[in-house]
């Protein structure tokens, strides 16, 4: 039984990723909890600001360029070298050149940007970079960047590839989409064919263009919907509510499991929620939803929930939900709250901001002020 629970949890945590890669950075959308849209950033709770807007660099022809302008709205392949590097940089260069060859159509259409950043900007003059890249006979469409050490280091740090000693840099290639600041870290020595496959996931269909990028963006926003789905649940008023669209979309949500006959932790959680409801005032229903999900759908039908809700003076925006067996179980499972016996439920509040993708787990039995502080931090998208 326990195993089953764990495996379900694991299922939630692990969302399939390309074999060679891991998510490097999720920019502002970096999420803390198991239920972000990607679902994979469990371990990394640091929030990154978006990249500095203007970082002047030099390309291999000595022209001044702006890093953000180069990658704006483009799919990007980005690797890191220094020209006096003997062991891993030449193979990485050859790989990169081959990747460019495979992706030549995309490069020609300016949909894909191939960038190489020197991690030794004090030595690597534009002249050196040009000479280095010429060895691979890659032709145009490959921009090599150097610049003032301070500027280059800023970029490297923001991309999380900075190493104090240049010799210690790893053969990393970043694949991603400019502006989204979300990169897939891949092994720069991996087969270019495989890298190309990963790169292609950033493009939608053979018909390409600006519109596509926009659509892709919208679709990305709907990943929450894809995950949580619009499974139908029923609230204490007997209304049908879709899990994502009606209960969660664009809201900050506070979710807890409970059942009405629970005499232990549930009354404590519910009275905490009542105080939070008071604190939230008008924001409840507009910006914030409280969702108490029953783990005992058999007992907790509409009428029972209504009585229970009234006992805690629940207003609009605080929903006690039940539903068909398969529906409510599915919803609980998606939130990691499914149990085999009703007494097995936890007392943890999931507090999530569907706009910023920040999620936190909070002890539902903690003092109400502490919980409120956490609710505020999620509303304001603060990690700490």
């Amino acid at each position: 039984m326990k195993n089953f629970k764990i495996s379900i949890l694991l299922m939630i945590i692990i969302v399939s990723q390309p074999v060679l890669s891991q998510i490097a950075k999720d920019g502002k959308k970096a999420a803390c909890c198991v239920m972000s849209d990607k679902g994979a950033e469990k371990e990394n709770c640091t929030q990154k600001g978006s990249m500095s807007p203007d970082i002047p660099l030099l390309n291999q022809y000595g022209e001044s360029v702006n890093f953000q302008d180069l990658i704006k709205e483009k799919v990007v392949a980005l690797n890191f070298i220094f020209t006096s590097c003997k062991t891993i940089c030449p193979p990485m260069g050859a790989n990169f050149a081959q990747l460019k060859k495979i992706m030549s159509k995309r490069v020609e259409n300016s949909e894909l940007v191939m960038l190489t950043i020197s991690i030794d900007p004090t030595t690597d003059t534009p002249e050196r970079l040009l000479e280095w890249s010429n060895k691979f006979e890659a032709g145009s469409g490959w921009t090599l960047l150097t610049g003032e050490k301070k500027n280059v280091n800023t970029v490297l740090k923001e991309l999380e590839v900075y190493t104090a000693l240049k010799e210690e840099h790893a053969p990393i290639i970043l694949l991603g989409k400019g502006g989204e600041n979300k990169w897939i870290r891949a092994n720069g020595l991996a087969e270019p064919k495989e890298l190309a496959k990963t790169l292609n996931t950033f493009f939608d269909s053979p018909t390409l263009g600006q519109n596509n990028i926009k659509e892709k963006k919208e679709e990305a926003f709907n990943r929450d919907e894809n995950y949580f789905t619009n499974v139908e649940l029923i609230n204490q008023h007997g209304d049908t509510m879709r899990l994502y669209t009606d209960l969660m979309k664009d809201k900050v949500v506070i979710i807890n499991p409970f059942f009405s006959e629970c005499k232990g932790v549930c009354p404590l959680m519910s009275s905490n929620l009542e105080k939070i409801q008071e604190y939230l005032g008008d924001r409840l229903g507009n910006d914030v939803h409280i969702i108490s999900m029953t783990v005992d759908y058999k007992t907790d039908q509409e009428e029972v929930l209504k009585t229970y809700a009234e006992a805690y003076n629940a207003r609009d925006g605080w929903y006690f939900v039940t539903g068909k067996k398969e529906n409510i179980e599915f919803a609980l499972k998606k939130l990691g709250k499914n149990v085999t016996t009703r007494e097995g439920h936890d007392s943890i509040f999931l507090i999530g901001n569907l706009n910023t993708k920040l999620w936190k787990k909070v002890n539902g039995l903690a003092s109400v002020n502490d919980i409120i502080a956490q609710v505020d931090s999620v509303v304001n998208d603060q990690i700490d």
């Binding site: 006096s84 062991t87 891993i88 030449p90 050859a94 790989n95 840099h169 053969p171």
Partner: protein
């Protein structure tokens, strides 16, 4: 008993000397033809047959010239770890150990044989059937070439650069051409170098290697290959003669703008190029407000190839700064008076004098007679003036730019020279040249000492590239890096101190090569 011990000792002595002899002779051996080709494959990725050697890695084929063995395994075969990749030690002894080897991931393999080595280089599968790390490319080459390569790997460990043995470092010293140099200058320099080498060899050399100097003129350089490294003064034709020979070279300065490390990684200069030294005088004119936008200027130059080119560079640089084309006039000892008269020089305009030193004071005299007290700026390495006998009116108007100055010399540095001079009876003439050469010898010594016993040309270059503000007490402190090949970029502007009646350092100007 005694006899037995004696014979035993004698035996030991014999064994030791014999052993020593065999290693020495083995190392001194010339490479066979096969080994030579093998070495080229190892270091450059170029084979001896028509079949181009290709490296294949993660499905990509590139010429082996991009990824020759030496890149990762280093010249000594012991590997150059980087970015988490640790290339194997591929010296023959390591590969063929009778009990096999162990990989980083603890997988074991039997000892390599020629056959299994051929297989692993071409397919990436070792004799135990393990696949090598993907960072090791698979190499595609002709059977002949792979055999050449293996022949070289066999002796990789003991192969040394030319001019380097276990007991000697052969040093090439390029002397100035006799026809352009005063007759005893070369012999003076030669004496100094010999004295220095004798002194250092008498105390055990550097890591037990004696420094052996060989002297020759630049024309003889073409046929010489057996030096570990070369020292010389001016780069005139030296660099073009040793191009592609990959010999580390230390020179005083370049006549044209000095190349960066990228174009010629093997040459290191102590001082700025003659061009950069001369252009610094224009910078100084600006600093000192001798010239400003639109100021008229004159360049007087002697019409030989180097001086003419420098005069042209000054004219270009002057125009860039002051938007006025200087009046460039060529002079000789015959026409100097007439040409200066006709040059319509105005008082207080800058004159850049790029003529022979002998004409310097005549120029000042002529100007004095014409009542034109112009500023005279002189690159000290190309021409000069006798500052003590010049007319009064020019006392604070003559400036000479030198690539070094006595303030940069330390007592220790000078003492080292004086000691050599005393012990080895050195000439007292050509002191500047002797000191320049001694400075390069000291720098070489420092570099060799930093490297240690395990010496190679490659390491010499790398170590030189890490020199940071190294001072040998004779030259200004020098710094090199991957791009920088001019050790010290300062030009010292010297004027005349009328009160003290001596030469005086006015300021230093940071010269620019590019």
């Amino acid at each position: 008993m005694k006899k037995k011990l004696l014979s035993y000792l004698f035996f030991l002595f014999f064994v030791c000397t014999a052993a020593k002899k065999t290693t020495v002779s083995r190392i001194d051996q010339e490479l066979t033809y096969q080994q030579k080709i093998g070495k080229r494959i190892y270091t450059k990725g170029i084979g001896g047959t028509n079949i181009k050697i290709m490296a294949e890695m993660s499905g990509v084929q590139v010429p082996a010239t991009i990824m020759p063995c030496v890149n990762c395994h280093r010249a000594d075969g012991r590997g150059n770890p980087e970015g988490g990749i640790v290339p194997s030690n591929i010296t023959w002894a390591e590969l063929t150990k009778s009990y096999g080897g162990e990989r980083l991931d603890s997988q074991k393999r039997p000892p390599y044989t020629k056959q299994s080595l051929r297989k692993v280089i071409t397919t990436g599968i070792d004799p135990a059937g393990n696949h090598l790390n993907t960072a090791m490319p698979k190499y595609n080459m002709s059977m002949e070439d792979i055999n050449n390569l293996i022949e070289y790997i066999k002796i990789l460990d003991s192969d040394k650069d030319a001019g380097l043995t276990n007991s000697r470092i052969e040093l090439g010293i390029v002397l100035p051409e006799k026809r352009t140099t005063a007759y005893n200058k070369n012999s003076t320099v030669k004496k100094l170098v010999n004295a220095y080498c004798m002194a250092i060899n008498s105390t055990g050399g550097i890591y037990n290697r004696n420094i052996i100097p060989h002297f020759f003129e630049v024309d003889e350089l073409q046929n010489k290959q057996d030096f570990f490294m070369i020292l010389g003064f001016n780069d005139k034709r030296i660099t073009e003669n040793i191009k592609h020979k990959n010999i580390p070279t230390l020179l005083s300065f370049s006549s044209k703008k000095a190349s960066k490390g990228l174009q010629n990684p093997y040459t290191f200069y102590t001082y700025p190029s003659l061009t950069a030294q001369s252009l610094s005088l224009v910078d100084f004119s600006k600093q000192k407000k001798i010239a400003k936008k639109g100021t008229k200027a004159t360049i007087l130059y002697y019409n030989d190839p180097i001086r003419k080119e420098i005069a042209e560079e000054i004219a270009k640089y002057y125009f860039k700064h002051f938007k006025k084309h200087p009046n460039a006039i060529s002079i000789t000892s015959e026409n100097i008076i007439e040409n200066v008269k006709n040059a319509q020089i105005q008082s207080n305009e800058p004159i850049y004098f790029i003529g022979p030193s002998g004409l310097g004071n005549q120029l000042l005299l002529t100007l004095d007679n014409l009542n034109k007290s112009a500023y005279v700026l002189i690159p000290g390495s190309l021409s000069g003036i006798d500052i003590f006998t010049m007319p009064e009116t020019f006392k604070d108007k003559v400036f000479i730019g030198y690539p070094t100055w006595i303030s940069e010399q330390t007592n220790e540095g000078l003492q080292a020279y004086e000691e050599l001079a005393k012990n080895y009876n050195l000439d007292h003439k050509w002191r500047r040249d002797q000191l320049d050469m001694l400075s390069m010898l000291f720098t070489t010594e420092e570099c060799l000492k930093r490297i240690g016993r395990n010496l190679s040309r490659d390491k010499f270059i790398k170590t030189m590239e890490n020199f940071f503000e190294y001072s040998n007490g004779i030259s200004p402190s020098i710094t090199y890096n991957l791009n920088k090949r001019v050790g010290n970029s300062n030009v010292y502007i010297i004027g005349f101190d009328t009160a003290e009646k001596k030469m005086e350092l006015i300021t230093t100007v940071h010269s620019k090569e590019q």
